[in-house]
């Protein structure tokens, strides 16, 4: 099959064509690896885990941003592949893009647990209890692997590079929805901004291309709802306090654990 790759050497851009044999289950990353090993050693691209976990190999395949390791030739239903670097990012070389802005945007929403009393995190007297039902309200957004594919698909980032973007906003909602977090007021200045949630017009392209099912569009709409509720009604959920650990006595007929008897037989002389 014919593979067209958008090349960039720091000075100029051009399309380069390659002829590659591919089967329906061949992934785009397999094709890139084949090209670099056999046809053109100068081709630059990122990859690591080859199983959709690390989020390194995001590229645009036939106009749609996706992970190269998870996209198979058969599902594209075409004889010609067009591979480009992710849109809306500064290209460093060939298919390698600069993720500095992306990471800075992620950092700007403070994607970590915030408590009003930081002592509770430093010297927690016990764990913070979260029920399975509460866990379901944010666990979906915790699956983000930071591949950056959603920003490449977002039509708003295409015209406003200052827009925080779906990835960072979904991560903000992940912590805001977490019952252990108390950082809503700390994050709201970044979120409730002309380049924050209100710049999103719900095209849904981010959710459509997300390789992990994170659904950032949903998180952003929920964020808007939370911000409106806070601004109009001054209403916020109450965070859970650290739970008290209650040492329970085992039932009388519970089996006793086996005695600890372990001898280490290996070792270095």
């Amino acid at each position: 099959m014919k593979v067209r790759i958008r090349r960039f050497d720091g000075q100029k851009e051009w399309w380069q064509d390659y002829e590659v044999e591919a089967k329906p289950f061949t992934t785009i990353l397999d094709i890139l690896n084949y090209i670099r090993e056999n046809l053109d050693h100068t081709l630059a691209y990122r990859h690591s885990c080859q199983m959709g976990s690390c989020g390194s190999c995001g590229v645009v395949i036939n106009g749609k941003p996706a992970l190269a390791c998870q996209t198979r030739v058969g599902e594209l239903k075409t004889d010609t592949l067009r591979i480009e670097p992710l849109y809306n990012y500064r290209v460093i070389r060939d298919l390698v893009v600069d993720l500095t802005d992306f990471v800075n945007k992620h950092r700007s929403v403070k994607p970590w647990m915030i408590r009003k009393n930081p002592q509770e995190l430093e010297e927690a007297p016990s764990e913070f209890k979260v029920t399975p039902q509460q866990n379901l309200t944010f666990i979906q957004f915790d699956y983000c692997i930071m591949c950056g594919v959603c920003l490449a698909a977002c039509p708003t980032v295409a015209i406003d590079p200052l827009f925080i973007g779906p990835q960072a906003l979904a991560q903000a909602y992940r912590y805001i929805a977490d019952p252990r977090d108390e950082g809503f007021e700390e994050r709201i200045d970044v979120l409730d901004d002309s380049h924050g949630v209100w710049r999103c017009h719900f095209a849904g392209a981010c959710s459509y291309v997300c390789p992990k099912g994170v659904d950032p569009a949903k998180a952003i709409q929920y964020l808007k709802k939370e911000i409106l509720k806070f601004r109009l009604l001054r209403k916020r959920k109450k965070a859970v306090p650290p739970a008290e650990i209650v040492q329970k006595e085992p039932p009388p007929n519970a089996p006793k654990p086996p005695p600890f008897d372990f001898k280490f037989e290996g070792g270095v002389e």
Binding site: G63, N88, V157, H201, F202, A205, Y208, C210, A217, K218
Partner: protein
Amino acid sequence: MVEENKRYKAGILRSLWPHGFNIERYTYTLHRITGVILALYLIAHVFEIFHVALGPAAWQQTLQELGSLGIFEKIGLWIIAGSALYHGANGLRLILNEAFGMLLGKPVLPEYPYMPTSLSRSQKIAIYILTAIVVILWIWAGLYLLEGLGIV
């Protein structure tokens, strides 16, 4: 130099090109385009209304001109009517999504093949219903304008 790479920002054409994406992306493009049409119409409308300030004679003349529009002006009005209908109806859907969190589904544990619930069946049904209503009303608006021309 790397900093001069023009592909840093994909640009307005890429932003408005929905091919190969989900149906919500098409509604986004149409919403933006109809929004621009309505904004331009609003400027023209304010300019028209401004003739009131020039006295009764100027206002009467404006009303006479508006009463005898040609076919191209009527087509223009028909496009504006369609823009207002679509922008309003889709805007109501977006208000339901954004302010009330409706039609989005609940957060779920992602499972392969990862179908986002915010782009689920209820969202699509809402889009199809609003499109059907807009098309019917737009056809009715077209017939109303053609009647004014004596064609229907």
